[in-house]
Symmetry: C2
Subunit: 482 residues, 2 copies
């Protein structure tokens, strides 16, 4: 091991021997993203134990112009927490900061360190009769800091919003090492530009989130899950409008599943079975919940709403889960789509959004257009239709090997998908973020107002460009105005 | 009239003869804020008719370095829309842009120009069975653009959030004249720093909001308003926690009124009468609403909740409005406090917030501290307790003339109030903004992280500092780093 440079020695003084490692073995698990798409290198892995230590580390980094790559659970979808290959960065792990500072159940708030793992937060709140209404596949590793920094979404956004709506306060270390102390949960605060809003979804490019005060809701009393068959996404959308008008306060899930996706799950995932006797071309999973005693019984509501929906020609058929176990079976059909698709062959995934009212046409029209342009491909769009957000997967022609198809298609099919999204007024990143994966596409598809603002804000708040360089903000081809 | 300079001629070419005036008579009504606290001067009043005209005006202003002061209904509370006295600015009125572009009732969205007046928006939506759940005293003049730019609040924030929560999309002209086209209502969009969030509450210092897509909710089916007596703000807070746990989805109003304020209203406002037989030291106005047919009857809920509250020792006494007319009477007691106070004598008003859980103690402790420091004054704190936001009024000793007391006290009492707010983790501006009124106090009371970020963002997005100079961002004593 080479002799440590001045700044590394200073950092070690801050975090102690155990908080800093240059060992390949220690660093390796964190230098490749969980899906194995990106591998980087770092000068050191630094793991501070408290906010003040983070601040001191960033001050040293600012002084010596060392790039900092913040990392939580390393379960992001766009390589946002993986350093580049230069090996010049410091990987800053927040995982040691995993203290739930305070649960204020009567105020429906919880304050916790950035390194708290989502599942641990869920469990701690359950013990207090509360619920943090955001969950996702990586909940066993995803941290609060990462969820904030990526403005994470999931299946409960419909009723509760994404992280942006759930963050009541934030503490962060800014690129000059100053501490932004904004944990106080102020429901009203009009003191100008809201730094919190920039840090949420900022992907660590403007500072390091060290703690957050999050909104909680009462624990669920009960829920009712139903599976409905519809003939088209347009019919699904009309069903959504109906349910949202009648029961928006209790509608917590509205997911669309095309027949091809359901068939893939039924073929490849053991123990699954079709919810409806007669298959429909499109399916919708509906969840109605109750978390206040005065609210109507969710099962009564679902029965009534589905009966009305049949009368209004909004569904073809429906099944209501008769038990919590069957409710979980219905959700498993939805949640296993990605796994079932992997068993079928290579596919390109796109996390995109358009206005809710435009999604049905987008699914049909953009799907047809991609299949027309790229012969042999098949499009499967599924997911959070109530949020105007689907996972738009383009499957390779049957029998295609993963490579070079995947790599080549990322350069041809993905831009074509994104062009269609932009034409529909949508976003090329609905919930996963930009990270490394989409930074070129963001540059290609953003107007001067968006791009100029992104760059101006980045340069203003991180003038030495030390915070998570190469992520989110397209700077590669950019020269500052002289 | 002097010959018009080049840039004025260019602006006139853009907006036409009717869209530009230098006449004193035309300009005068808009050069003094509605409360008569600030009077400024301007080179011209420019009234564009569409977004493209706004963009061209701003491009000319940027080229010639002309300061632009955007203005909607001129009903702000902090002088944010009044130009300074230099007479060098252009007053940019958005009032001609008053088109409601599209009401999408099934999607619960409305898109309208910045100059649409709030009351007109309410009326247009009522015709479609929808409601925009934000209202305030100035609704007959306040415009959508002003409401967005000040992140306006009001009494319905409790259930629906402030403007920030109600803006689904935004269109704005940035300081270089580029148009930010973000009207598409994307529920999920993770393309980096959210410019929309900076423009909301940006007070026109980062650009001119020209249109917005706003979220609407179904029109009310019915509501129930109650007036409860409590002995202390702490008891009021426990009552709030109880109601919020049991009925957060329907609780749309929770306002606190001290006995002194109610007495002032009963003495000075004709046609008012006490809701409770026996006066309480503190009062709470509660509103429970229903806007979905499946929700419980609000009157049943209020009766049940108040009966439970008596059993739990959360209230002393209560009256439930037996008709819509009586509900309006109860609200009038709350809404007339400011008017009644004006009849009593001079008072300094402070629009402040602290965490909801800290408000009860703040009302008592800060009130006592101010009355101790400033002999003869009397503090009256009332308003949006469910949001942690009260109007903290400090009344002059009886018989005091308005001046010089008001001016002198603004320099002594207000800083003392603000110091107590900061000590409680609160905000010196809950819903009114910073404008001209609080810019010095914002500078005095902000840490380097907040202040540095404010200045950096302002300078980055408005490098020539032409957008609403002197408002919101403390720049007077600031020199950019060389």
């Amino acid at each position: 091991m080479p002799e440590r440079s001045d700044w590394l020695k200073k950092m070690e003084t801050v975090v102690g021997n155990k908080g800093l490692s240059q060992s390949e073995d220690d660093m390796a698990p964190w230098l490749t993203d969980w899906r194995g798409r990106y591998t980087g290198a770092a000068q050191a892995l630094v793991s501070p134990g408290c906010t003040e230590e983070v601040a001191e580390i960033i001050r040293i980094a600012a002084e010596y112009r060392i790039a900092i790559v913040p990392q939580g659970g390393n379960s992001g979808m766009v390589g946002g927490a993986t350093p580049d290959k230069s090996g010049q960065s410091v990987l800053l792990s927040l995982r040691r900061m995993n203290n739930i500072r305070n649960i204020a159940a009567a105020d429906q708030l919880v304050t916790c360190d950035a390194g708290v793992i989502l599942q641990n937060l869920h469990e701690a709140l359950a013990g207090e009769g509360q619920r943090f209404p955001l969950t996702l596949g990586g909940k066993g590793s995803a941290t609060v800091g990462g969820l904030v920094s990526t403005n994470a979404g999931g299946t409960q956004v419909l009723r509760h919003g994404a992280m942006r709506a759930l963050v009541a306060g934030i503490e962060a270390v800014l690129p000059d090492g100053s501490i932004y102390s904004g944990l106080a949960p102020l429901k009203k605060d009009n003191r100008g530009y809201d730094l919190k809003q920039l840090l949420i979804g900022g992907e660590g490019t403007l500072g390091v989130v060290t703690a957050a005060t999050l909104r909680t809701v009462p624990a669920l009393i009960d829920r009712c899950v139903a599976w409905a068959g519809v003939s088209t996404p347009q019919q699904a959308h009309r069903l959504f409008q109906f349910l949202n008008t009648e029961e928006s306060q209790a509608l917590e899930g509205f997911e669309i599943v095309p027949r091809t996706c359901l068939d893939a799950v039924l073929s490849h995932i053991p123990g699954t079975r079709a919810p409806l006797e007669k298959p429909s071309e499109w399916n919708v999973l509906i969840e109605i919940v109750r978390d206040q005693a005065s609210a109507p019984d969710p099962r009564d509501r679902v029965e009534q709403l589905l009966a009305d929906a049949i009368g209004k020609d909004l569904i073809l058929d429906a099944a209501i889960a008769s038990s919590e176990s069957q409710a979980e079976d219905f959700w498993k059909l939805r949640d296993s789509i990605a796994e079932a698709e992997r068993a079928q062959g290579p596919a390109l995934q796109h996390d995109i959004s358009v206005p809710v009212s435009a999604m049905a046409d987008f699914i049909i029209d953009a799907g047809a257009e991609i299949e027309r342009q790229f012969t042999g491909t098949e499009v499967a769009a599924f997911g959070h239709m109530g949020d105007g957000n689907v996972h738009f997967h383009v499957k390779a022609p049957p029998g295609t090997a993963a490579q070079p198809w995947t790599e080549e298609s990322a350069r041809s099919i993905s831009p074509a998908v994104h062009d269609l999204v932009v034409a529909a007024g949508g976003s090329i990143s609905a919930e996963h973020g930009i990270g490394q994966t989409k930074v070129d596409e963001l540059e290609r598809l953003s107007g001067s107002a968006r791009l100029g603002s992104l760059r101006a804000i980045k340069s203003a708040l991180d003038p030495h460009l030390i915070m998570n360089p190469g992520k989110l903000v397209p700077l590669a081809s950019w020269k500052p105005a002289s």
